[in-house]
Each structure stands twice: as structure tokens, then as C-alpha cells.
């Protein structure tokens, strides 16, 4: 959108320096760049979450409705029918880095639009710079981290640092040692053990079996067991978010689906519980991997402070299920975050604010 202007902007503020100490007045933001949704928290006290999706009119008729605009966020999902939609992130990473040709460019542009929307959400004043700490998946490749930095800068974010997403969550809670963070997202589950220093590759595990897989699994089970009902992945995702549970409850997941074109209430409790329940052993495995490769003397400490964040942490009964799974490993204590949507962006903001000003100047 404003490609070249951006570099100029940051240079100009150095030269003209209209606000005198323009650097210290930069808006600081923390961004949790997620596969299904991205959250931003700013030093001005703003917080916002948007679906990580970009859309533009499908055809001439839709263009009349939407204009020749590019939409970002939940509005895209609401107007899905008239829009060409594009999710710029896959499995936690910017998808364009894994694609080629036309599609690569479309995905890259979509990513740029997402960052531009996030930049706008920072509500920086005219000429005011934005410094962002951006959470990426624990096992993001170097290329991906660089791609995040490049796109964010192209979208007008002046200073960018990338940090592992679960580390940001740990930082938000001051859980810098003797702890483990499990971030259950849509594309990935990211685990990270905290041992007092910046976590490196050995301290982190990424599991590519997360919310999206659960959705796909529910669809699969339904197709197998209820071939008569019609549904879209989005309907399934919504139903899952409403009824997900890994324990038995009296509450049945009664969802209305078209059956032969007629709206019919269907009980999909078992399918949801099965699919969601399949996450638990994956998570326990991941925890075990990080515990068993840790200094034996301190293993019990990280086990006794497992912090769960991300949208998937909202599964009913998950804490008990995980603690039960940990019993075989000698037991553990699991804590579910109250604010899983913003925990990552809040930690990233905290990092941005506590990062010495001279560091920001060098970036």
C-alpha cells in the first residue's frame, strides 16, 4: 500500500525530529500473529483481535457492494459469499514463504494487508513511529521470522522484533524459570520450557496438530457417521468452540444442520469429544519431551507449573485431563490462563516496553 514511503518516514523522523524525542514517544505494540486470529495490545491501552483473513470482491457484482476494497478480519468471514478470501498464515507461519508463483504473491500481499490493518490498530498519530514485538511460532524457521520482519516493516511498522509466542506468554506472567507454556492455537500447539534464559530450539516443541486439525477430524467423523447431514468447516468450528469438552457433561452438543435441505437438530457431542480429546495425548507427549530432556534435578519444577494459553485452552475439563495425563510422568500442576486471547500480545507488549530505548534505536 505505502511501500516506499515507509523507509522515508523513519529516516525523516531522524532528520526533522518534529516531536523532539520522537523515539521515546513511539507507540509500542505487542502482536500475536496467529493462524486463525491475530491480537494486538498497545502502549496506548488499546487491544484488538481480528481474524487473520483477507478478502476482496469476487466479481463485478460483489465489487458494487464492497467497492474495490480489500477487507481484513472478521468482516471477511461475515461476507464470505461475496469475497475471495485468503488466509495469509498456515500452520503458524506466513504461507507465502512456502508457495510459488501467483499464489505466492497473493499470499504475500494478503500478509501485507494483515500487517497494515494491525499497524492501523496501533492508532499511531501522524508521523509517530510504531515499535512492535511480534510473536511467532516456537519453531518458526529463520526465513519465516525474516519474512515477518520484512512484511511488518513494509506495512509501516518502524521497529520490529520477533519473539517465540509461548515465550511472550511466559514473559507476560513473569514465569521466566521453572515453568512451561503450552499455547494451543489453530495451526500449532507450541510448547516452551522456561529455564531463566531465552529459550532456544531445544527448549521448544511445535505440534502441528491443533484446532484446525480438530475441526477437520470432527468433519471426518461426521461424514463417516452421519453422511446425511450437510455442513461447512466454519459451522463445525463454531460448534466446537461452543461445546468442546474432554469430560462427560449433561450438556449435549445439539447443532442445527440441513438434512436433505431441511434444518434438523443433530447431536454431535461424541464427535466433538472424540476429536478434542485426541489433542490431550499430543500435548502430554510434548510436555514429556521437554521434561525428559531437562536437567533431572529440576524436572519436577517445570512439570509443576504448566501454563496453558491459546484458544484451545478453553476446552472444558482440559486442566483435569492434562493433570491426569501427567500423572504417569510423576504428576504436574496445570494452570489455564484467564485471558488466553491476549496473553501473547500482552507479553509481547511488555517486552516492547521493557526493551531499552537504545535497542529500538538500533533496529
Amino acid at each position: 500500500m505505502k511501500d516506499n514511503k515507509l523507509n522515508q518516514l523513519s529516516n525523516e523522523s531522524d532528520v526533522i525530529s518534529p516531536k523532539l524525542d520522537g523515539k521515546s514517544t513511539a507507540v509500542k505494540v505487542g502482536i500475536d500473529l496467529g493462524t486463525s486470529r491475530s491480537a494486538i495490545t498497545t502502549s496506548k491501552g488499546e487491544r484488538m483481535v481480528m481474524a487473520s483473513v483477507v478478502g476482496w470482491p469476487k466479481d463485478a457484482i460483489s465489487a458494487k457492494v464492497f467497492g474495490h476494497r480489500v477487507l481484513v478480519g472478521d468482516a471477511v468471514l461475515e461476507n464470505r459469499m461475496g469475497l475471495q478470501t485468503c488466509f495469509p498464515l498456515a500452520d503458524g507461519n506466513l504461507a507465502f514463504t512456502q508457495n510459488a508463483g501467483d499464489q505466492k504473491e497473493t499470499l504475500r500481499k494478503a500478509g501485507l494487508h494483515l500487517f497494515t490493518a494491525l499497524r492501523q490498530a496501533a492508532k499511531a498519530a501522524e508521523g509517530q513511529s510504531v515499535h512492535a514485538v511480534i510473536g511467532a511460532p516456537a519453531e518458526a524457521t529463520r526465513e519465516n521470522k525474516q519474512a515477518i520482519i520484512d512484511l511488518a516493516r513494509e506495512a509501516g511498522i518502524d521497529g520490529v522484533m520477533v519473539v517465540s509466542e509461548p515465550f511472550a506468554v511466559a514473559y507476560a506472567l513473569d514465569a521466566l524459570e521453572d515453568a512451561m507454556v503450552v499455547d494451543i492455537g489453530a495451526g500449532t500447539i507450541d510448547l516452551c520450557r522456561m529455564a531463566g534464559s531465552l529459550p532456544d530450539a531445544e527448549d521448544q516443541v511445535t505440534i502441528f496438530h491443533a484446532g484446525n486439525h480438530v475441526d477437520a477430524r470432527i468433519c471426518e467423523l461426521l461424514r463417516e457417521q452421519r453422511a446425511d447431514i450437510q455442513f461447512s468447516p466454519n459451522m463445525i468450528k463454531k460448534a466446537k468452540e461452543r461445546f468442546s469438552s474432554v469430560v462427560d457433561t449433561n450438556k449435549r452438543a445439539l447443532v442445527t444442520f440441513p438434512v436433505n435441505g431441511r434444518p434438523t437438530e443433530v447431536d454431535i457431542t461424541d464427535q466433538i469429544q472424540t476429536a478434542v480429546g485426541e489433542l490431550v495425548p499430543h500435548i502430554v507427549d510434548g510436555i514429556q519431551k521437554l521434561v525428559s530432556t531437562f536437567d533431572p534435578e529440576f524436572q519436577h519444577r517445570i512439570r509443576s507449573r504448566v501454563i496453558v494459553s491459546g484458544g484451545g485452552s478453553q476446552v472444558y475439563g482440559l486442566q483435569e485431563a492434562l493433570e491426569k495425563g501427567l500423572e504417569d510422568l510423576g504428576g504436574g500442576r496445570v494452570m489455564i490462563l484467564d485471558d488466553p486471547v491476549f496473553a501473547g500480545s500482552q507479553g509481547a507488549l511488555k517486552l516492547a516496553l521493557e526493551m531499552p530505548a537504545e535497542y529500538w534505536e538500533q533496529l
Partner: protein
Amino acid sequence: MSAESNTSENDGKRGQIRNVEELRNKGIQKVRVVGESQLKEMAREAAARAVLELAEELKVSEEDRRSLVGRAQKQILDGDPGPLPQIIPSPVSKPDAQVAHLPDEEQVEESPATLGLQEQEMLIQLSKLISKDWRSELATVRDSHKSQVDRLEMRIEELTRALRVTDQVLTKGGESVVNPASKLKPFDNKKEELLDQLFQANVALREISASHGAGSLSADSEEGRMS
């Protein structure tokens, strides 16, 4: 609180689940099951709050009060990594007459509304016990500041022990969950180091020229694709 399907080894636990379900059936959509560990932390928090409120009533210097509260919280929260309750520099000195209706109900209301009924009940009992105990204790030690402080310290120790017992009772099988290592050492130096490491990592990231080769991750989800 464990509620694995069809494996109700413990009827009491099933009972708690039903309570939560009752709420659900009343139309409350979001119900969080609170586990033992969270409950234990809440118990600690309740105790810490009780200390704060009671310390406010002491007629000692601000410095003494702070140090006392600091030590009390250190002990109570020992092994608990969670955030410390704020040490409020006593805003208005409360007349003794108000002591009578100090904390109980307030305390309960402050604990998250998402608690199960039985957990709430336990917390209510616990905070009542704590505040009742402390108040009668206070009445007998008002004679001199010195002894007041001494006795309070003793009570804090007792309270800490009581909390540990609560911890153990709450823990299935009674295995010890008390982490003896204090988690309250200041993080400031560590944080500086961490921030420095993070900065250096980002500088390095920038210095390596980007070679946007194809990654090896599978993208079999809906995301990252066009529709």
C-alpha cells in the same frame, strides 16, 4: 474434580461436576472447572489478602507494616509463582469499630465467579477461619506493638503450615506439593539479560541475508489457501 468418563472413582468429585452442570443448565455457557492447583492458589491468595487487611489495622509505623506484610506474603506465597497481591499503602486509617465487618463477604465476592459451588464454599470457610482467627488473635495482642508483631509473625507461620496442610488435603493421595524453593528472588537482572539476548537474536536475524527458500512445513489446513 477429575471427571473422566465412566471412571468415577470418587463420588465427591462427581458431585462437583454436577454442580458445574447445574450452572450450565441454567444457561451459563462458559463454566471453567477449577482444578486443585488453582484452588490452592486461591486459598493462598485469600490468606494473603487476609494478612493485608489485618495488617492495615495495626498501629505500627508504615515501615514495620510493610516489612511485616512482606514477610507474611513471602511465607504464604512461598512456592507459589503467581503475582503478589498489591501492598496497598493503607489509604485511610480505619477506626477499630469497623473491624467487626471487615472481610468475609468481600473476600468471597472477589474470587472469580466461575468457581464451582463446593470450591466457593471451601474458600468461604477458609477465609472465614483465617479472618476470625486473626481477629481474635489481634484482640489479645493489642497491648504492645512489639509483642503484636511477634505474635503476628507466629500466626503467620501457623497459617503457612495450615495452608500446607490444606494443600495436601486437596492433593489427591496427599502427596506433597509444597515447593520449598522460594520463587520470590528478583528477576530484574535476569530480565535485562533476557531482553539483551532477544535483541541480539533479532540483530542476528537481520544480518543474515534473507534467502526465502521454500519451507518444509506441510500446509494441509484450510489456512494459507485460497478459497
